[in-house]
Amino acid sequence: MKFFGFLILTILIVVFANPFIPYWAVMLALALLAILLNPGNAIAFWGGGLGMGLSWLGLSLYLSIQTGSPLPEKIASIFGVGSGTILIGITGLLGFLFGSFSSLTGSLFRKITKKRPDNLYRGG
């Protein structure tokens, strides 16, 4: 459950904030989200990665279908990357890498700054 919650929050941030801020600011935002929510390293990595990756993949796919523009094929040809479909994949992968490492960084940061609570009974 926690995983889906984090995933959905990541997607919401990318979908609503990214149109107004560059990708590196999204990375920062995802790191902050992980610091705030402290989802755990695995959930941060996969939730952040899939959240941003799927958002980017989804948007590039959506734009391709909606506009029917030949531009992805043309760009792919200029950069020598097989096809526009591959570019959609690369976009998704890039989003995944940005998202996953940003969230994981936030999560790990939370771990080192979080003070061990000293008012708890730990037994023993």
Partner: protein, 807 residues
């Protein structure tokens, strides 16, 4: 341990973020480019999908309505001219920002800023030719003499800047994203620079090559191979025109010496072969409806985004429509409610070269007559992407800039040349177009042209009141015979241009007896014209075909004129092929293919239609033969021009045994028929290989017309293998990289009927459906409806945008 993992992952994240934000090698930063919210994915939208209903821009005085028709052609309705040009600037930038900036960067010699050191030599050449210098003088001229035009030019610039100021990173043209730079502010200076760039594109000179040929061939042979007037001269202004003015007298000084060296420097880049244009107007007495019809098709490099951008520009006082140049104000070739006009290039050796004798190595002064004059130094700082700036010093004499010197392209340290060119003089071409847009009659047209300097053009004209006219307008020096044909000695004042031909003496004609006016880059006049006329680039085929057709046609309709623009008759082939077949005699290589080719040539009707094989075979045979005849000239070791196709055919026909065909040192005496035979063998060889490798050799497949993006490396932004006919020297002048860059036909009846098309699309965005959507229509000889629209016509509109003042 947890500190270690944090730092490790942090570093990976930072590295990802960092490397995605910087260019790697020639590749742009990947992050911004691939980000689907800001990167190239956003450029997939076509203009109608992101249309805005209302846009507020600063400086506007009233409300301006822009109606786009189904082809994304904007129709701007403003209350005054300042608003009109402000919105023209904004709208043009919306669709063509990258192109208009890139072209002015090229004109200013600033391409190295965008692409790096690879363009340094090009930029140095551009700067040393002084285009930016000319634009600065043009701006100074406006400031001093024409504040009215300046105000409009600045309104246009502010309009462009209003767009640049609000452009989102998502909507930034994709070329900026790939080349990784941002648009800078537009200015009036840039608009003027664009017009200088047109001069550079259209004007050439062959002084260097002629100087060499004069030395090598001698005067007599030079004049035989390169006569100043051809035998079949069919000039722009009808040959029987009577010149009713008293010309300014100029006499060739006695005992002149042209510098008599052989020059081994490279000549300046010349306008591309095939650059030229047609225009004509027929009077009502020759047309079916009794109204004049005007046609214009400028032939230029076929590029994407297209050089042209179509618009209607309206105020309560006037309504004009046609082709604009992105970056310049008004319509360049078009029509309004009263008149229509069009342009073709009318070059007349507008560039001359003077050898400069400097006093010493500082080059601070140079010899002029008995005295020394001071030179000026202009420092050109060329910024280079990824490198330190390059500083170039260009010496300016009173003639103009010294293009070649010891630091640039000269292997001979003792030689310096100054370039004399009308582009370096303050002038006001922009005003010509502003006035022409509003012209109501022939007198207004003439008044508009009086402001025009360069590049010289044949301005065709027709009016609703029934007039047709042609005027060759530019600023031309009064020259004595052969002045400027060769390099000249700058230390001899007698070599200098003294006066300019008054506008009233420029060749012109109004309602000539023959019922039509026309131009196709041929000689402007008959030899009876009282001023010296010379240029190497005059064309000898399109004009004769055009005038022949116009003479014989009656009851002309708009469709006839469209067909004539698309006329594929290959006059050069019609004149040359029978001569070549005759010279070949009974010789035919014993080869099935050779027989087939000959059969196809013999049954060909001389039309260069896309499906024909004849034009392929002829053009191959001709170019091989031509090369065989003149190839020894390459051994001169210096730059020269070769005789024209026209002159070569004439020699083949009239003097096949002439010594002219026996250049070089071969033991046998060569005649015309030897070259023709050799050419035939080479053609057979080439065509057999072509059939093996490529298959079909129909004309369109062979010539491979390509509309190329301004950055040739972006090949997928180009459109290749366009299936269309025509070629260089044919009225439909569409070769492989050049051709009709704009076609327009206008009938000036009570309701003006207008048609236009160009090989491109209104959008400069390769992701838009309006980027190249005209090309297939253009290739088929079809046209778009270009009738004027009224402010309240809202049918068949794509969308409407209202511009309002921004408080």
């Amino acid at each position: 341990m947890k500190y270690f993992s944090f730092i490790f992952v942090l570093l990976i994240t930072l590295a990802l973020g960092y490397f995605a934000s910087v260019p790697i090698g020639p590749a742009p930063p990947m992050g911004p480019l691939m980000d689907p919210n800001h990167g190239f994915w956003q450029n997939m939208y076509s203009e109608d999908e992101i249309a805005e209903d209302e846009i507020a821009i600063p400086g506007l005085q009233g409300t301006v309505t822009v109606t786009y028709d189904e082809n994304l052609i904007p129709h701007i309705f403003a209350q005054n001219e300042e608003d009109l040009y402000r919105v023209q600037g904004y709208v043009t930038a919306q669709h063509r920002l990258w192109q208009m900036e890139f072209q002015t960067m090229a004109a200013a010699g600033r391409i190295s800023e965008i692409v790096g050191p690879i363009a340094l030599e090009l930029d140095r050449m551009t700067r040393r030719k002084g285009l930016a210098y000319g634009a600065e003088l043009g701006l100074a001229y406006l400031k001093e003499k024409d504040p009215e035009t300046l105000k409009l030019v600045e309104a246009y610039a502010e309009g462009v800047n209003a767009y640049i100021d609000q452009i989102s990173s998502a909507q930034l043209p994709v070329e900026y994203k790939i080349l990784n730079y941002r648009p800078e502010k537009w200015s009036g200076y840039k608009s003027l620079l664009l017009l200088k760039y047109m001069s550079d594109m259209l004007v050439g000179d062959r002084d260097l090559e002629y100087s060499n040929l004069r030395k090598i061939l001698g005067e007599e042979l030079l004049n035989k191979l390169f006569p100043e007037f051809p035998v079949d001269n069919d000039p722009v202004i009808e040959a029987d025109k009577v010149w009713d003015f008293e010309p300014i007298q100029v006499t060739k000084p006695d005992s002149l010496n042209f510098p008599n060296d052989e020059w081994v420097i490279d000549p300046l880049p010349q306008p591309e072969e095939g650059t030229g244009s047609n225009n004509w107007a027929v009077s009502g007495k020759k047309t079916k409806n009794g109204y004049p019809i005007l046609a214009n098709d400028p032939h230029l490099s076929l590029n994407l985004p297209s050089l042209w951008y179509s618009m209607q520009l309206s105020t309560p006082g006037h309504s004009v429509k046609g082709a604009t140049l992105p970056g310049a104000l008004g319509v360049i070739s078009g029509f309004n409610e009263n008149i229509a006009w069009g342009v073709t290039n009318a070059t007349k050796d507008a560039r001359d070269w003077y050898k400069i004798t400097f006093k010493d190595e500082t080059r601070g002064s140079y010899k002029y007559g008995e005295s020394w004059r001071d030179s000026e130094f202009r420092i050109e700082e060329i910024q280079i992407k990824g490198q330190e700036s390059f500083i170039d010093t260009v010496v300016y004499t009173h003639y103009g800039p010294v293009v070649y010197d010891e630091t640039f392209k000269s292997e001979r340290q003792d030689i310096n040349f100054a370039l004399k060119w009308t582009v370096h003089e303050g002038s006001n071409e922009q005003k010509t177009f502003l006035m022409m847009n509003k012209a109501k009659n022939h007198a207004d047209y003439n008044a508009a042209l009086d402001n025009y300097t360069a590049p010289a053009q044949n301005f065709v004209f027709a009016s609703k009141s029934g007039d047709i006219a042609m005027r060759i307008q530019g600023k031309f020096a009064v020259k004595w015979k052969e002045q400027g044909k060769f390099f000249m000695d700058g230390s001899d004042p007698r070599m200098e241009w003294k006066e300019y031909i008054p506008n009233a003496h420029n060749p012109s004609t109004l309602n000539p007896e023959r019922g039509f006016v026309s131009s196709a880059n041929q000689h402007p006049v008959d030899p009876s014209y009282p001023y010296y006329v010379f240029d190497n680039s005059y064309e000898h085929y399109r004009n004769r075909r055009l005038n022949k057709r116009l003479r014989e046609m009656e009851n002309i309709t708009v469709d006839d004129m469209k067909a004539l623009q698309f006329d594929d008759y290959y006059l050069h082939a019609a004149e040359a092929l029978p001569v070549m077949i005759n010279l070949l005699g009974s010789y035919l290589p014993n080869d099935e293919s050779a027989k087939k080719y000959m059969q196809e040539l013999k049954s060909w009707d001389f039309y260069a239609d896309p499906n024909q094989k004849g034009p392929t075979l002829f053009s191959s045979w001709w170019s091989k033969t031509y090369n065989e005849i003149w190839k020894e000239w390459a051994e001169f070791g210096v730059p020269v021009v070769r005789p024209s196709n026209y002159q070569t055919v004439k020699l083949l026909k009239e003097e096949p045994a002439s010594q002219i065909f026996d250049w070089g040192n071969s033991a046998n005496i060569e005649t015309a028929s030897d070259h023709v035979k050799k050419g035939f063998e080479l053609m057979v060889e080439e065509m057999k290989k072509w059939e093996e490798d490529e298959g079909d050799y129909a004309w369109a497949n062979f010539k491979r017309t390509k509309i190329q993006h301004l950055v040739p490396q972006f090949n997928s932004f180009s459109v290749e293998n366009v299936y269309t006919g025509g070629g260089s020297g044919i009225l439909n002048a569409t070769g492989s990289r050049h051709g009709a860059s704009w076609r327009m036909v206008v009938e000036l009846g009570s309701d003006i009927q207008a048609f236009g098309i160009y090989p491109g699309g209104q959008s400069g965005n390769p992701g838009s459906k309006f980027y190249a959507n005209f090309i297939s229509k253009w290739a088929n000889g079809e046209y778009l409806n270009f009738n004027l629209r009224k402010p309240d016509d809202s049918d068949a509109s794509l969308f409407i945008t209202t511009f309002v003042p921004k408080p």
